[in-house]
Amino acid sequence: MLAAARPPAPPQRPAGRRHVAGLGRLGLRTTPGRIRALAAVVVLAMAGFYVVANIAVGNARDGLRVIGHDAGPQVLATGDLYFALSDMDSQVADILLAGGGSRLDAVQHALSRYRQDRARADRAALQAAELSASDPTDQATVRSVLDGLGQYEQLANQAMVLDQQANRPAGPPTATVTAVYRQATDLMKLQLLPQAYNLTLAGGATVREAYEAKRSAASSGRVWVALTGLAVLVALAGLQIYLVARFRRRVNFALALATAVLIVLGVSSLRLLSGEATQLQLAKTDGFDSILTMSRAQAISNSMHADEIRFLLDPGRTDTYSLDYLYKSQTILYVDSGNLGAYYTKLGVAMRAYQASSPTVSFFGFYGAEARAHPGPALTAVLTRFQQVQADDQRIRQLAGAGHGRQAIAVLTGQTAGSSSYDFDRYDQAIVSLIGLRRQTFDQAIRTGDQDLGRSVLGSWAGLLPLAALGVAILVIAGVRPRLAEYR
């Protein structure tokens, strides 16, 4: 009332002059003009804050979607696919080796495991197809795996039927059967398994790209949310101060409320965003990266073990299988060594250093990366068993080299500690349980991230954010309306 009496009423301006001299200049010359301008600045800044916060939250949601629900699961599904495929091939080999009537149990057992693997491979392939729907190359690769799998099954069935018809005692199958089986196993090793492995890598690449992009978007998003929030705050304070000074009134309640809403909104946005960033990082580095590394280690280990078997079964290609075995061992755990003899020795040295009271990681490869990033008892168990697998391999090669082929095969196929089959299974189980642990970390982080995004006072962030932003704008208008009314 007091204020209304004091300032001169704004003169009516001719409409034409506005355009001549510019809107802003004229608008700011009078008190209501300034109030309007300040209120407009607040509302605009609020709109800016809304847009920025919306983008930042959207980025966080995208990151979670790709890593938690899209490419991340693709990696897990294709890892499963690889495993099921390679196990199918092992079961077929077992069925053909067991052969004959005397070991019908073994054949039945292998046959049922083969069927389980087949179903598991189907499921994993379908899941991978669904998850890679957005990428035509991955899609085509999955299709190629499915086609190849059909072909493989035909060949494997043919080999098994031929073998049954041969009606032979246990032991190596006939040459005809072997020829058909060799086609099947070549198809598996040269076409299906590499494609499955490449799909895992492609999923890993997608996750890495998404993570890098979302991580930098998330950190700049947080900065922008803070900056625009601050800008709204400053503009609100300016408006408040102007009103107090110009109208000699106490604090404007609506504006104060708007400020409070803004502060709550800004702080909770920042908390949400940094919480999301933390969960994303947890899921990526402690969960996903480790799962990817260990899945690859598991795949390469399986094929390394197959090279050990083939080293004994296919004397014509022992050099290739030995060199491949060394190569794969070094991919899994790298110590600088020119040949297998040196590898066993250096591996022993590296493991002693790792298991010392003050452990040092002197090795590289998958396990080097893992030991640097996520040391712990589960990894130590994997490493210990890997060392045992290598010790068995050394024995097998020593026996084979000394001409004790039968003893070497006994060490290979035995089902007690100190034989390769048994120790390799235990090693594989250690990898599986490590992957299981990381899977828990991954799932937990994604779940927490999803929940935080979905949870807020008014339901989801998607609903709260525009409502709160609109609320601030309405409060600002409500706050200045009575003052503007004094000029009417």
Binding site: L28, R34, A37, L38, V41, L44, A45, G48, V51, V52, I55, T137, A140, T141, S144, L190, Q191, L193, P194, Q195, Y197, N198, L201, A202, G204, A205, R208, E209, E212, A213, S216, A217, S220, W224, L227, T228, A231, V234, A235, G238, Y242, R246, R296, R317, D319, T320, L323, D324, L326, Y327, Q330, T331, Y334, D336, G338, N339, G341, F364, G365, A369
Partner: protein
Amino acid sequence: MKPGRVTARGRARAAAAAILVLGLSAAACSAGGPPSIAGRQTLLIGVKADQPGLGLRLADGRFAGFDVDVATYVAAKLGVQPDHVTFVPVTSATREKVLENGSVDMVVATYSITPTRDTLVTFAGPYYVAHQDTMVRADETAIHTVHDLKGKRLCQAKGSNSWVRVTQELGIAAILVQAPSYSACVAMLLAGTVDAVSTDDLILAGFAAREGPAVRILNAPFSDERYGIGLKKGDLSGCEAINRAISQMYLDGTAARLLRKWFGQTRLQLNPYVPQFEGCD
């Protein structure tokens, strides 16, 4: 009044500026990350100049071979058309150096991925898995497998890994005779200064086709050689993009066609399936 007015306008400007910058930053958000060959307009690609069938410089200065065609295909998939690709001759000995100092962007030059090289460069691929074999003079009767190289003179091409496989990994005591390249090795084999040249079957097939009946390949392969595409260490996005391109090369039938084009006349067993990639880290 006056100071208040200035302040209000100043604030208004600051806020407006903040909103403007904000709009710009949203557009700029997508950039960033370490330099990568992904997204380049032109490419310098290192290839061999003296290996027939793989990378050979022709009389007119152009390069031809399986590696050259693979490189051209991959470059196109990366968005670089053939007229923006420049081929640069490299030798086995210079491959790491040219990548490290940036004088080429990628190397497609019968470059086997090995754990040791893996510590120096980032490998995409492999785009093909070759097998090491051994070439001797046609009249050689004492050498049948790589193990017969014990006590024989084996050519050691500079920067190559093949002799390492024989003398270190397989522990065969061959006598190493140094040479600058595989084409020099073949010349030395014909001249009788070495007894054997041991390297990848694809390389040997090219030389055997050129030399005709003067030489013979043992056809006793003893290793898997994973031909990778070398990139500067750490270029993960480039590596991932190339792996994608290699997958496409096999899926669309180009790989099978190129293998037939360059090695269809040889006795090599060609594998038309995409190899298992090493992964980009």
